[in-house]
């Protein structure tokens, strides 16, 4: 039945059911988003926190200062590295795990699925603490395992070259199970008959994978791509816990961390809001690009 031919009393009831949720979403999410933009146009700082008459409207000045700030570009570089290396790595590992779990040759699939998924439900802060010690150059398990292959110890979190790769590996370990579950569900939705038909036409396993599996998983990859972009672009707890807020030499400083430090450690809230908005715009643009690619692929 079309939604428009509604009985008036039914519409009234509907809005009553919607009111609590919609008010919460508006008040606790949409209004703050809009307010963040207004805040970014002011010089709101610790004095304004004490007396709001100290707030002045300064136009786009925060953005000008921000874009000239080398720390922003450092944080952007690290965040982009996290997203563009960590994201594909996570999805690649997840695709491998999903293909294994989907294979007809695999046994105990349920058990492995649970094990792969376990890291995803753990608390990020807690496993970041665990990895801090796993990466320790003297007694950490990771360097001990590398020593087994004759590789000299790496000071993962103390060396600016290795700190980001270390954080990326943690993210892959923690998140691949989530993507695996969705990809397995996607694989199960591909009808066996399509493969049968292609096999009769003489397609090789590689061709089946390239021409059937990957294209039919595209919607799942789009969803995962968007979710990963949103999630990874705001990474924060890893450097907060593992590298004491972006050490060494800001090699692990992220955009989220830069915003947090400016806003809640130094109370430069106007400036921090401009960082939040830059983050917002970049995520939005990246999401739009992914939808655009998917639409072009379909066309």
């Amino acid at each position: 039945m079309p939604a428009e031919r509604a009985a008036p009393h039914e519409a009234r009831a509907a809005w009553m059911f919607l009111a609590p949720s919609l008010s919460a979403i508006t008040l606790l999410f949409l209004v703050p988003i809009a307010a963040a933009f207004v805040l970014s146009l002011t010089d709101f700082d610790i004095y304004a926190l004490g007396d709001s008459s100290n707030v002045r409207f300064i136009g786009l000045k925060n953005y000008g200062v921000l874009l000239a700030d080398p720390l922003l570009w450092k944080a952007m570089r690290n965040t982009a590295l996290f997203l563009f290396v960590g994201g594909p790595l996570t999805l690649g590992v997840a695709l491998g795990a999903a293909l294994l779990l989907h294979s007809r040759l695999a046994r105990a699939k349920g058990l492995f699925r649970t094990i792969f998924f376990a890291p995803y439900v753990t608390t990020l802060v807690a496993v970041a603490v665990v990895f801090r010690y796993l990466y320790h150059p003297r007694f950490g398990l990771i360097d001990r395992a590398l020593a087994f292959f004759g590789i000299p110890p790496i000071d993962w979190l103390g060396d600016p070259r290795w700190a980001m790769p270390a954080i990326i590996l943690l993210a892959v370990w923690k998140n691949f199970g989530y993507a695996t579950i969705l990809l397995v569900a996607g694989l199960q939705n591909i009808p066996e008959s399509i493969y049968e038909a292609a096999r009769i036409d003489g397609a090789s396993p590689w061709q089946l994978f390239r021409k059937i599996t990957i294209p039919l998983l595209a919607p799942t990859f789009l969803f995962l791509g968007v979710m990963t972009t949103i999630g990874y672009f705001q990474f924060f707890a890893e450097p907060y816990v593992m590298t004491d807020g972006g050490k060494p030499l800001n090699a692990t400083l992220s955009v989220g961390l830069l915003m947090y430090k400016n806003g809640f450690r130094w109370w430069n809230m106007g400036y921090a809001a401009s960082i939040a908005f830059v983050l917002f715009v970049v995520v939005l643009a990246l999401t739009a690009v992914q939808f655009w690619i998917e639409r072009r692929r379909e066309a």
Binding site: A3, E4, A6, H9, E10, A11, A14, W15, F17, L18, P20, L22, A24, I25, F29, P32, I33, A35, A36, L100, S103, L105, A106, R107, F112, T114, F116, F117, A118, P119, V121, T122, T123, V125, A126, V129, V130, R132, Y133, R138, F139, G177, Y178, I181, L182, A185, T220, F223, V226, Q234, F236, A237, D244, G256, M259, F264, M269, A276, L279, L284
Partner: protein, 273 residues
């Protein structure tokens, strides 16, 4: 023959993957049971020489982390109850009630899903501050209630409720709220279980918002308290591992218990049309 080799290859790859996924968690548990200094000795031990609960005792007595357990439980439970109530009402309305603007409002909500939550954080903190909710449990538990994904989950599930059932109740003069409470909610039980565990885990694991809004140590949730301990006690490896176990084990146990519902929620949320 080649089938046997294939089976061995697949199975050993799965076992290797499982080992990588589990080793950090098993090492965490093992080290948490070691006496101080044992996990960082050279060569390091993988298993405790004499398992001890001393680190856990330390957490609860000297560091009073018991409070943080209570805070985490309270905040996650409150947020979960709020989300269940708010989202089930909204999801049901979007699925089963006819009103002008329904599809447009729903589409707008779905579009808002791509907004990263931290963007809202600074003004939200200032709003909480003027409402006197900084360092309060309510201030920590309210923002999760603005969740949108739950509305989507409930709506997907509620669409399968037959209209006839609801219309029959209306004909007999039942009020709309009575119908929701007595007919719809019981039918939604499976998806409510899913939403409950997803929300509980997300709130329990959340870090940045509790870090911002809870300013006093006595109100800290487990992740915030744990992050604080890293600063002061980073040399006490075994103690930190006990703190990590204390934080992770409840959610891991809950996941293992309600695994089916949780994974259903994840996949249902992932296959949006």
């Amino acid at each position: 023959m080649s089938r046997r080799i294939g089976f061995l290859l697949v199975q050993s790859a799965l076992v290797a993957g499982a080992a990588v996924a589990l080793t950090p968690l098993l090492w965490m548990i093992s080290a948490s049971l070691m006496p101080p200094g044992e996990a960082s000795s050279t060569p390091p031990r993988f298993l405790p020489s004499r398992p001890t609960l001393g680190n856990y005792l330390d957490l609860f007595t000297r560091l009073s982390l018991g409070r943080a357990v209570g805070n985490s439980l309270l905040i996650a439970a409150a947020a979960t109850l709020g989300v269940l109530l708010l989202n089930s009402m909204a999801g049901y309305a979007f699925a089963k009630l006819r009103f002008p603007g329904r599809d447009r409002v729903f589409a707008a909500l779905m579009a808002a899903l791509v907004i990263p939550a931290p963007v809202a954080m600074l003004p939200l903190f200032l709003m909480m501050r003027s409402a006197g909710l900084v360092n309060s449990y309510l201030g920590a538990a309210l923002p999760p209630m603005a969740g949108i994904i739950g509305v989507f989950l409930i709506r997907q599930f509620a669409r399968s409720i037959p209209d006839d059932l609801l219309d029959a109740a209306r004909l007999e003069g039942a009020g709309e709220f009575w119908i929701y409470w007595k007919i719809v909610l019981p039918l939604l039980r499976p998806v409510l279980a899913t939403l409950a565990i997803v929300t509980f885990l997300a709130t329990w694991n959340d870090f940045i918002w509790p870090l911002v809004i809870l300013t006093d140590e006595s109100r800290y949730t487990l992740p915030v308290a744990l992050a604080g301990l890293v600063g002061e006690h980073s040399a006490d490896l075994e103690l930190m591992m006990a703190g990590s176990v204390l934080t992770v084990l409840p959610v891991l146990a809950l996941f293992l218990l309600l695994q089916r519902q949780y994974i259903e929620g994840i996949t249902l949320g992932g296959v949006k049309e």
